[in-house]
Symmetry: C2
Subunit: 207 residues, 2 copies
DNA sequence: TCCCAAAGTCGACCGCGGTCGAGATTTGCG
DNA sequence: CGCAAATCTCGACCGCGGTCGACTTTGGGA
């Protein structure tokens, strides 16, 4: 039976992840040691590394599970008939509130997602993709309703809006804005800028 | 003479920083240990912590020195009469090429600048400020020449363009774009989007 | 000049993330 | 079933960043 070993492997993996959910939530990422996780999962320290390449990979796996909740919360609040800008704000602010619920957790996540180490690039790209996809869907609907310019590269447009979310997070972590409310005000203005354009009127008529 | 001690302190600080410039450049940030720095600077390991709070602070001090070169290189290439978009491209691409010259160095820097730990927030804000200032100056000139909309909040506009630079770096580190040339193409398009606006024409005329 | 409090120096030490090879366990085959 | 090869488990071990308290140096007032 080759299934015995495989089942056990999966079981152990889940045990480690469960320990991660508990301990990361309780003591934070940096406050939780690999040995803590191993002990809680009932395995030896070295065994952990048979399931995850490094601590970051555990974190990202943890995030993938957690982020589901954020998207679930989003599904409740989102209104696919609302104006484009409002839909984006709902998406971004829901994610913002969730991600910054624990400051350290959010910082680590956004660092990994925006500027991953090569080792973690694949995992973090998966997470990135979920965000970009969510933005892309909103833009798709917006485009069909004529809220977006014709002829805009949809991917780059997606990236554009996503970048404004990133910089909002950056402002939060750099101390330019302290509360979710302030972030909301700034982010809305940034999105408005993106939609209306920053160049003088003459520039547009040339296009 | 209280100056003797102060002079020695400054001398030691410089020695550590000099060691950092050499060793970080040679073996990278993570490849250089505090003990390496201490030995190269001719002091004990513990002494280093009398001059810098942690390894990151050494890194940021190192960056402040290094970034001067990047801005110096920029001064040569920049043309304050060129179109706004070209000036921004020159700024961003000069910085991009410099910062990503060593991949790990650039990743660490941009992580610290965009999403700093509270301990390093002040230092990283100094660096941020230099970038924002540089962008702000370009926008100032652009605004005076009528290349920018009237009534735009200048700071938020600065942040907007800066965010597109950040996301370009993010794309590079996430593996969406591999070379400086590809980054240049994408970034230029993003800037163009920002200037012309992403919303449909009707949105603009309402404004 | 002497003396002692204050400031500075140092490396042993701690807990961490990650490695490694010895030993235990499972698997597939005759 | 027997047994060897393949796989998995584990904690001692390494080097790291950072701390700490014992030790040395400095400087100004009596």
């Amino acid at each position: 039976m080759s299934g015995v070993r495989a089942a056990k492997k999966e079981e152990t993996r889940r045990a480690i992840l469960k320990a991660a959910v508990e301990l990361f939530g309780e003591k934070g990422f940096e406050g939780t040691s690999i040995e803590d996780l191993a002990r809680a999962a009932g395995v030896g320290k070295g065994t952990v590394y048979g399931y995850f390449q490094d601590k970051n990979e555990i974190f990202l796996a943890f995030c993938e599970e957690e982020i589901d909740y954020a998207f679930a919360a989003l599904a409740e609040r989102s209104d696919s008939d609302a104006p484009l800008l409002e839909q984006l704000m709902t998406l971004f602010m829901t994610q913002f509130r969730y991600v910054t619920e624990n400051r350290e957790f959010g910082r680590h996540l956004v660092r990994e997602m925006a500027f991953p180490r090569p080792v973690d690039a694949h995992k973090s790209k998966d997470l990135d993709a979920r965000y970009l996809e969510a933005v892309g869907e909103i833009l798709d609907r917006g485009k069909k309703r004529g809220e977006l310019r014709e002829g805009c590269d949809l991917f780059l447009t997606t990236v554009h809006f996503y970048s404004l979310y990133l910089v909002a997070l950056s402002g939060f972590y750099s101390g330019y804005v302290d509360t979710a409310e302030e972030v909301e005000v700034s982010l809305r203005e940034l999105l408005r800028q993106a939609l209306e354009g920053l160049g003088a009127q003459s520039v547009r008529s040339e296009a």
